[in-house]
Amino acid sequence: GPKVLQIPSHQIIDMGQMVTLNCDPVSNHLYFYWYKQILGQQMEFLVNFYNGKVMEKSKLFKDQFSVERPDGSYFTLKIQPTALEDSAVYFCASSLDRNTEVFFGKGTRLTVV
């Protein structure tokens, strides 16, 4: 079936540095999402993105976070600067429409040291 690809699967970064998480969504999908899962906790909504714009973001989406999808390429989540509490698994997801099935990637485990 359709796949959302997240590269890399694990990334280690020094606190204060910038990190970009890459997501290759399903090719014809128009809606894109990021979710954050801290170890032992539930997946929590961060942001959704459509037509080049953020539609909605949660309180977890701090000012240090940004998303973009330049020229229909990767959908990215950038954190600048990173903090220790940003350590988590970040799941990217996409859907064709706002009411159709959401497809998730396997997640990128971000470790901030």
Binding site: V4, Y35, Q41, Q42, M43, F45, R98, N99, F104, K106
Partner: protein
């Protein structure tokens, strides 16, 4: 705000026995409910979604019934298989999202292990 509770973090069953994973929710409006399944080293994948007309969704032998009176959407299967071993997430999408995928609220997940 919206919330989803999955009371069991870990469920271990013998193959062939029935499965029931609990899910209750709180939402200001009448939400859509979902079950997602995540097998080891795989992405979470949609298993079931509640219907607006109270039909019972079924997929791969699993079913769930939305009970608005008890705010529940328990996942059931009559006979567990070894391949059902996975992490199961209950989630909701509130009406303030237009029932859309804009913002899914997840439970913590239940790890189901089926043994021979």
């Amino acid at each position: 705000g919206d919330s989803v509770t999955q009371t069991e973090g870990l469920v271990t069953l013998t193959e062939g026995l029935p499965v029931m994973l609990n899910c209750t929710y709180q939402s200001t409006y009448s939400p859509f409910l979902f079950w997602y399944v995540q097998h080891l080293n795989e992405a979470p994948k949609l298993l079931l979604k509640s219907f607006t007309d109270n039909k019972r969704p079924e997929h791969q032998g699993f079913h769930a019934t939305l009970h608005k009176s008890s705010s529940s959407f328990h996942l059931q299967k009559s006979s567990a298989q070894l391949s059902d071993s996975a992490l199961y997430y209950c989630a909701l999408s509130g009406l303030n999202s237009g029932g859309s995928n804009y913002k899914l609220t997840f439970g913590k997940g239940t790890l189901l292990t089926v043994t021979p």
